[in-house]
Amino acid sequence: MLRQAWLVCVKDVRMEFRGKEALNAALAFALVVLILFSFAFDPTSEQIREITGGLLWILFAFSGVLLVNRSFAREQSNDCLDILIASRVPASALLLGKAMANLVFILTVEAVCLPVFSLLYNINLFLLPQWLLLVCLLTSWAISLLGTVFAAMTVNLRLRELMLPVIVYPMIIPALAGAMQLTNVVALGKPPEGDDLIWVRLLVGFDIIFTALALGLMDTILVD
């Protein structure tokens, strides 16, 4: 199963990096929103430190859902999903592969946006790179995993683009809330400790619970 998941992931990444349509759109969107932020509040004030995490993760959640939306739509144009299921690729392998590919896309957007944000708003986010990486990995996995599951659920709906965010955002709030808090702490150069560690635990627990649920239930979503 892992081998097939890996193949699906490589295939999805290759397809996306060939055209880069969704990736470019998501990146452009993220940068536009980064600029919009500067109008929402005084970009030179100190208070921006307190909302850095919030801003960044709203940005990543929005562009992440844009990316994830394509995940199953990509399979649909020529009925490729049917072929994969008929070839006995397990639904859980499909989910895992697609979630890994989406993780790559979301991390790409983050890799561009984090330095740009640091530059434009004069906040060094990279004081504790290992913590930042951990937060990004845990949270991006949460976004991409739940996003992929719900993309599979909504792929046949007429209002797919509208319905996916409506379902995904409330579900990922626990992970986003944790990421926002932790990013704020990490941006100050303090390693998370005490009360902040509950957010790390929450992120890890969130990832584990939903990965298990999703792997177990994916077959139900895809096969009638």
């Binding site: 599951v149 659920m153 709906l157 409506v166 379902i167 409330p170 579900m171 239930l217 979503i221």
Partner: protein, 228 residues
């Protein structure tokens, strides 16, 4: 369930509620710190318990529906979810009235309130999804999984007062605190009113369940007519 049983349960619920109202207003005294308004808790807490029960039932029924490919489970899930959302609305409204009087504000963004709100949004999304999927089998599978996922949010709502320091009051019932800080008569009243509301819940869910079953039958007949 037959009409007679439903009617009996409904009447029992009504009788119990009337009896409880008499007790609340005529027998039990005002609370020392909050005065008369504390009585709204006799509806606030039981409403949330009924709401959680409904969402739990929805998750279980969804799991059963998916596992056994049983459409009755699906109907039960949607019935329980809708009734659960009604209790969510009651819980939020009673909470806001209480907050306006005790805190002076209708709403605050603490973890408990926020997550109650999120939970309501998720289950509203569940109902929205249902209305958008035409194929009954796909509807059962997709929204069934959603209902199971959504229940995690109920758990977070319930545990929010333990996990974070909230403005929302902490646990008051003795099975969570170990007892001692709530008057036993008042606590008993909460359980009694929950029982009355649970009876009401059963009636509402049963009625909505029948509606859903009929709706699905009509859907099937219509499809058969078009196909033939």
């Amino acid at each position: 369930m037959s009409d007679k049983i439903l009617l009996t349960v409904g009447l029992a619920s009504a009788a119990f509620l009337v009896r409880n109202l008499y007790q609340m207003f005529m027998v039990l005294p005002d609370e020392a710190a909050q005065g008369a308004i504390y009585r709204i808790m006799y509806f606030h807490i039981p409403s949330w318990f009924s709401c959680f029960t409904c969402f739990f039932a929805s998750g279980l029924a969804s799991g059963y529906a998916i596992w056994k490919k049983n459409f009755r489970g699906d109907s039960l899930a949607v019935a329980a979810t809708e009734v659960g959302l009604a209790f969510t609305a009651i819980g939020l409204a009673t909470g806001m009235i209480w907050a306006k009087i005790i805190w002076g504000i209708w709403w605050t963004w603490d973890a408990r309130l926020t997550w109650a709100f999120i939970t309501a949004l998720i289950y509203a999304g569940y109902l929205m999804m249902r209305s958008m999927i035409d194929d009954p089998g796909e509807r059962m599978r997709v929204t069934g999984v959603l209902s199971i996922f959504a229940f995690t949010s109920v758990v977070i709502t319930y545990k929010a007062i333990d996990w974070w320091r909230t403005q929302h009051p902490g646990a008051i019932l003795s099975f969570r605190t170990g007892g001692g800080n709530t008057d036993p008569a008042m606590e008993a009243m909460i359980y009694q009113n929950w029982f009355a509301l649970l009876l009401l819940t059963v009636v509402l869910v049963a009625v909505r369940f029948r509606m859903e079953e009929s709706r699905r039958e009509i859907e099937g007949l219509r499809r058969a007519v078009y196909a033939g």
